[in-house]
């Protein structure tokens, strides 16, 4: 954690008073711990994006291109013509305030410019000034202001304090979606070379090497093999993964968090075990290894650029469909963007589970199935055997990842799997789950180290709900289906809700999975000893509706 992170008690004293001066008259103060490093020149260059140079956020001069004003204005004009969302959201907000306290960053920071309505006004004010008659004539009186370098700094600070979680959009009576504002605002900033390096570096690596962490093909293979060795040690079952294999039926893609770092790798072990047990004809790809897409946090174009590899690789390997791992924004991109950006995928077939024969008609066009959909179908049709008692030492709660909750609606599948793989499941308060879920505080590429205060503030509402069930039901495990969650939550839990671990659904499933030819399993996938069984119970309650 960064050195200047305040103690939790101090951070929790949130000042919700509005400043004495109006928001337009309150200049932005870039507060250390609340922002990430600026993108490095080499990472801008890697994708041929504008204005490559090294710059420091702390500098007074951000070395904007000479023509910065016109670049942004032209960029805004172009986007107003391309995105109905932007034009509508610029025009129809009534500032009713329903969104204000829905944002985790506002709840955790009290900074008024983190109210979604004001985050949008940062851009809307400039729009009014240059694109509406009233704004041009009456100026500040009607909430219009001229774009200045100070406004650019403000944009940068606050568009990188939004995790594009869309919670505000759920509560907005007109569905105004701050994620759209932030996505397009970041696009404008990228025209000036103003990304953050946590995103820029990942994008550059993903573009070139095939994943966010820059893992080369041979290292990728070693990582997967390393996980297979661990599985053999724990279960006695030897797994031979296939990589870049042509003619496999399924291309499996997950995000790098799953094959790179704890606790994601335990989820990855779960996938490997499940696929082996099923005898699935699938392959990994080193070229399109990355399911996550930090391009989505940069611009639509970069999102498309990185995402294009997935279909290109599926076509090259001649697979029938794509199976995607547990990741949040990866699924927002696959679900809502991939077909439009890089489809139609005529070379693929409508996904059919080779095990159960279920046709996934809801994925008939994009031809990509979420692993939780795939596995729920298996479990529902009794194609795998689970021993939930192996997870009896875990009291589990489930965090809905923003992107799959509000950009897809994958809510019941993961719950169904948890209930089948575990005996002790407890929901967090209803205002904090399902479509109302709170962000981990680190989404949209903000899970760096240097912005730890921002992450802890933004994660407060989520962590608080976890603490509630920890205190009430002794919950000790926070399950999730998002790689950024798995990277971000351990620090967040340590800070606000100690003693709660983080696990992916397929880790829980891998632990419960009874494999053919397995040995006695005294250890879980983390290599920890399982407690002695008291009374194994095989049945779990049927899932409840709604």
């Amino acid at each position: 954690m960064s050195d200047n992170l305040p103690e939790a008690e101090e951070l929790a004293r949130i000042n919700l008073d509005m400043p004495p001066s109006g928001w337009m008259d309150t200049p932005v103060k870039l507060q250390k711990g609340m922002y990430c490093h600026g993108v490095q020149g080499k990472n801008i260059k890697a994708l041929g994006m504008p204005n490559p140079r090294d710059w420091l956020v702390e500098d007074d001069d951000w070395q904007l291109p000479e023509d910065w004003y016109n670049i942004v204005m032209e960029g805004l004009r172009e986007r107003l013509h391309r995105f109905r969302s932007l034009q509508i959201f610029m025009d129809i907000c009534v500032r009713c305030g329903a969104c204000a306290d829905k944002c985790h960053f506002f709840i955790g920071s009290g900074d008024p410019k983190n109210m979604p309505v004001l985050r949008a006004e940062l851009l809307r004010s400039v729009y009014r000034h240059d694109f509406t008659r009233a704004g041009r004539i009456m100026g500040k009186m009607v909430g219009a202001r001229k774009l200045t370098k100070a406004v650019i700094r403000e944009w940068w600070y606050y568009f990188f304090q939004c995790s594009e979680c869309r919670r505000c959009s759920l509560f907005c009576p007109y569905g105004i979606d701050t994620a759209e504002i932030t996505i397009l605002g970041r696009e404008l900033l990228n025209l000036l070379g103003l990304n953050i390096d946590w995103i820029g570096a990942a994008v550059a690596k993903c573009h070139h090497v095939g994943n966010h962490i820059g893992m080369e093909p041979q290292t990728f293979k070693e990582s997967i093999e390393f996980l297979c060795d661990d599985i053999e040690e724990i279960t006695g079952v030897k797994i031979e993964p296939s990589i870049n294999r042509k003619g496999a039926e399924i291309l499996f893609v997950t995000s790098s968090g799953d094959f790179y770092a704890e606790p994601g790798i335990f989820t990855c072990m779960g996938y490997l075990m499940l696929f082996h047990q099923l005898g699935l004809d699938y392959t990994w790809s080193t070229y399109a290894a990355e399911g996550g897409n930090f391009g989505f946090f940069t611009s639509h174009e970069v999102a498309k650029l990185l995402n294009a590899k997935m279909y290109a690789e599926a076509e090259r390997l001649k697979v029938k469909f794509i199976l995607g791992g547990e990741c949040g924004h990866m699924w927002r991109v696959i679900h809502q963007y991939m077909g439009t950006m890089n489809g139609p995928a005529g070379f693929l077939e409508t996904p059919v589970s080779p095990v159960t024969g279920t046709r996934f008609d809801h994925a008939a066009s994009t031809k990509a199935v979420h692993i939780c959909e795939f596995t729920s179908d298996l479990v529902h049709q009794n194609k795998i055997k689970l021993d939930p008692s192996r997870n009896d030492h875990l009291n589990i709660t489930f965090h809905d990842s923003c992107n799959v909750a509000r950009g897809m609606g994958l809510l019941d599948e993961p719950r169904y799997l948890i209930k089948k793989a575990c005996n002790h499941f407890y929901e967090m308060p209803e205002e904090t789950i399902r479509e109302q879920t709170f962000c981990c505080g680190s989404g949209a590429g903000l899970h760096a180290g240097e912005d730890m205060e921002l992450r802890m503030r933004g994660g407060l509402p989520r962590a608080n709900a976890v603490r509630t069930v920890r205190d009430r039901y002794d919950v000790n495990t926070l399950a999730c289906i998002c790689a950024i969650d798995r990277v971000a939550f351990p620090a967040l839990m340590d800070y606000w809700a100690p003693e709660v671990g983080v696990a992916g659904i397929h880790e829980l499933l891998g632990n419960a999975l009874v494999m053919d030819g397995e040995s006695e399993r005294p250890l879980n996938l983390r290599g920890e000893e399982l407690p002695e069984k008291s009374s194994p119970s095989d049945t779990t309650e049927e899932m409840e509706g709604a």
Binding site: R95, A100, K221, G407
Partner: protein, 329 residues
């Protein structure tokens, strides 16, 4: 209010009742209809490049999992249902919650906060009934639904003339919405002139309306003659309608002319808001982006060329065959 004074002085002082009774209403209506139409057409011409509904419930996936058809529509019909629930019941606003952080050991609690929903519903329905009732000034004979609306609106059956509930509710709701803006610091902080102006205007309209009906009285037949004249394009200015009427009318005209250029266009905008109007079927049905353009992504061939030797060594299958590039670097 300046606008009230303008109308009063104009009509009383300068005898400009033709200007305020005929020319301005026509101008306002033209601005209103053309302005709204222009705005709607402008929106309609801009594409929705991507399918971005905000999903508020379970998706349609496996046959045995119950999807939430209203909050996560899969078909166009279901999406219309969702839009209907937004337009008529303000469904999203009904969700409103208010979180509270108790500071000591931060504990977040949530309270239902339906006040805004209630004020908004009261306001919009009262507005609707009031406008609908006003059709009696523009129709001859008055159609039965309008008569019925007025009869129902007078259910209190008190006062002479009988008190119409909608107008009073309208005035009350606008006052509540305004107080909210003034009293809640956070709302005051985000509010602009653009937010106060229509509220004051509506207040003025409702107040002058109530004054005419209950306190000062006007020549209602005269008002009807004027209104009928306007819509039949044979404008007349009957004598003795009274200045209050012209003030009321002028405020309405101001509202009409202001409408297309203001946030009041949310009334039309909701029908174009992609997060509420689009069905969540982007994986099932291909959505085309009209301005989609090709991008040059890093090709597999370039990738394999770069990592060729390392891939050979690791035993990863290749497209280009093994020996070919070996031995360099």
């Amino acid at each position: 209010m300046g606008l009230v004074l303008i109308a009063w002085i104009g009509v009383q002082g300068f005898g400009l009742s033709y200007l305020f009774g005929v020319l301005i209403p026509y101008a306002a209506m033209i601005i209103f209809f053309l302005g709204v139409l222009a705005r709607l057409l402008k929106w309609a011409r801009i594409p929705n490049p991507f399918v971005i509904p905000t999903t508020g419930g379970q998706q349609k996936s496996l046959s045995w999992i119950k999807p939430s058809k209203l909050d996560n529509p899969f078909t166009r019909g279901q999406a219309l249902g969702r839009l209907f629930s937004e337009v008529f019941f303000f469904r999203s606003l009904f969700r409103n919650l208010s979180p509270r952080v108790e500071n000591e050991q931060p504990t977040l609690t949530f309270a239902s906060a339906k006040w805004l929903w209630l004020f908004a519903i009261l306001f919009h329905y009262a507005m609707f009934v009031t406008v609908f009732r006003h059709l009696r000034f523009f129709t001859n004979p008055v159609p039965w639904p309008v008569k019925m609306a007025e009869a129902l609106d007078g259910w209190l059956e008190v006062g002479i003339p009988e008190i119409l509930v909608s107008g009073l509710v309208l005035l009350l709701a606008v006052t509540l919405l305004l107080s909210r803006r003034l009293l809640i610091p956070r709302l005051r902080y985000i509010s602009l002139l653009n937010d106060y102006f229509p509220l004051f205007l509506l207040m003025g309209i409702a107040a002058t309306g109530a004054l005419m009906r209950y306190v000062m009285g006007i020549n209602a037949n005269g008002a009807k003659q004027l209104a009928m004249g306007l819509i039949s394009f044979k404008p007349v200015i009957p004598e003795g309608i009274g200045p209050l009427f012209f003030i009321h009318l002028f405020l309405v005209c101001t509202l009409l002319a202001y409408f297309p250029f203001s946030k009041l266009m949310h009334a039309g905008g909701i029908f174009f808001s992609p997060t509420r109007t689009m069905p969540n079927n982007s994986r099932a049905v291909l959505h085309e982006n009209p301005w989609n353009y090709p991008v040059k992504f890093h090709s597999y061939q370039a990738y394999e060329t770069e990592f060729h030797d390392k891939m050979v060594e690791a035993g990863i299958p290749l497209d280009q065959g093994e020996p070919h590039l070996n031995g360099e670097a």
